[in-house]
Subunit: 344 residues, 2 copies
């Protein structure tokens, strides 16, 4: 019997009030996070330090009654563990030596992958016993396309010029890179589950940059592979997909990946999601993070609108994108109280 | 009788092969543009110099058989003409003194607007006689929401934090700013039409950042206002809307704005556009600009896929976003040849 509300919702049960958590709910908007962050060296040092990573994962749970805790880590631990060293410069985002050729790619590999990721897995293990008994533990990874953009661009990008040129101009090289990342991500997610993760979310932050044909191949394809593998090897563990910016293709993503839940970005219209997506799987989302910054009556109205339209079906309240550092913690409390007070 | 193929397509006629042009078809990918650009002072100086702006507008037409020419200008001439001085720093994008308060907004105003925009209108006037007789002249403006983001943020933004906080936190101030921009944009577009623009495109580059309720109010609302005004005051001049990133809401945008044509971003699935949007209006799009950079067989395949799905109905071939500086001019020729050779 699944008892945690978050897992019941992912199994397809409508729950009133709905479970909620916030994307990257641990972070710079919390003073206690900033304090812990200052004790770690680099950002990746924090991700690889089980004691501190557990601490920051738990911090928001001490303030707010979230129904799930998400492992504190970063999507770029996969390239880092594959041998492409990742650095985070404060205020600049990640920097990686870019993968542009077969020779660059040859330097990466999965041997030793899980050894390098052992501290992250240890964080999951500790969290599985440290979180409250009604709170579910979510493991996660970046989707292969999104992770590949950073690996090929060498960091963030506005237009994914290098990644797309490899995708179209050197399709075999690109496919080899995607297969490597997909295999590594699968191993990593299975290890998270074995350490105690009760659900998995796959973040495809840049899925919306892909035209339809490429979306089907490189966003739906790897997500289906990962969902299939988890469902086959670790039956009962639900998978949430987040193909951010997929627009109309959210429907194909849900139908063709077999995910148990889908996370909606802020632009997805609620009535459409209720009519088209919610009959297919549990939906999660999709408050604008900037509305959580703005607060006030506009925030209440925005919360109520989401609850009124999606709250009757299988639903998890969340943001439509990651929480931002400018978020007043009091607004998060206001959100938590309002969601928890909802009675349909 | 409308004879130019581009205008016939916008009137709802399927044309084989379809007319084509490229978003911001004049630009840094052309050596002759870079040469002309070097003769102007700042980027805005180029926009305000009719002789040079006419020259760069015509440059791509000398190389490729485009069916339309789009005025060379920038969406930020509106805030500039409203009194918010705009500067472009090379490689950094635009910088504006941000509008954050009623006092900031009070400094802006429409008196003298068209005087300040006179050089742009003069460019339209000269173009109307300088372009080939079968080429249509497109005037344009940024959509009020997109322009407002730059005005409030003081430049480009990743998350539109200031703009959204004003939208939600100071709704009256935001509404006043939007009304000012919308009114100025309407005057500006009417003046472009009176100077010879035969069609208008409204670029809402950041429409996809708006949740549904705000999209309806601040993307659909102003676009409907502008389309209504043009249709009422200058009947016969078609309006193309480009609500980039609208996803599922492309349908509502088309249904509720009354635009004659809609420009599709790269993420819009072709079969959905053919089934849902094309019966409502002419569609335009949506090749990925990076595929035009990549070239080769992948480019041919991408072009053919778009033509096969959308080419039978009222359609204008275009990119799904602006052309990028890295585009090889030879690939644009390859695109032009392939579109023009299509026979359905």
């Amino acid at each position: 019997m699944t008892v945690k509300p978050f897992l019941r919702a992912l199994a397809g049960e409508p729950i009133t009030p709905p479970p909620f958590w916030l994307m990257r709910q641990a972070g710079r908007y919390l003073p206690e996070y900033r304090e812990t962050r200052a004790r770690a060296g680099s950002f990746l040092d924090l991700c690889y330090n089980p004691e501190l990573a557990v601490e920051v994962t738990l911090q928001p749970l001490r303030r707010y009654a979230m129904d799930a805790a998400i492992l504190f880590s970063d999507i770029l631990v996969i390239p880092d563990a594959l041998g492409q060293s990742v650095a985070f410069r404060e205020g600049e985002g990640p920097i990686l030596p870019p993968i542009r050729s077969a020779r660059d790619l040859d330097r990466l590999g999965t041997p030793g992958l899980l050894d390098r990721l052992a501290p992250v897995i240890e964080t999951v293990r500790r969290l599985s016993t440290a979180i409250p008994s009604t709170t579910a533990l979510i493991g996660f990874a970046g989707a292969p396309w999104t992770v590949a953009t950073y690996m090929i661009e060498g960091g963030g990008s506005k237009d994914f010029g290098h990644a797309k040129r490899m995708m179209w101009g050197e399709p075999q090289l690109f496919a080899r890179l995607m297969e490597l990342v997909t295999a590594a991500t699968g191993d990593y997610l299975i290890a998270q589950i074995d350490a105690g993760a009760e659900a998995i979310q796959i973040f495809d932050t840049w899925a919306g940059a892909l035209p339809e044909t490429e979306f089907r191949r490189w966003a739906i394809g790897p997500a289906r592979h990962l969902a299939d593998r988890i469902h086959a090897e670790r039956p009962g563990v639900p998978v949430i997909g987040f193909p951010r910016g997929a627009g109309v293709l959210y429907r194909a993503y849900v139908e063709e990946t077999g995910v148990d839940g889908v996370s909606l970005d802020t632009s997805v219209p609620l009535a459409w999601a209720a009519e088209v997506l919610q009959p297919l799987c549990t939906v999660q989302g999709n408050l604008d993070p900037m509305l959580l910054v703005a607060g006030g009556e506009a925030l209440d109205t925005g919360i109520d609108r989401i609850l009124a339209t999606l709250g009757k079906g299988p639903f998890i309240f969340n943001l439509g994108h990651g929480i931002v550092p400018a978020t007043p913690p009091g607004n998060v409390a206001r959100l938590a109280d309002r969601v928890k007070a909802w009675r349909g």
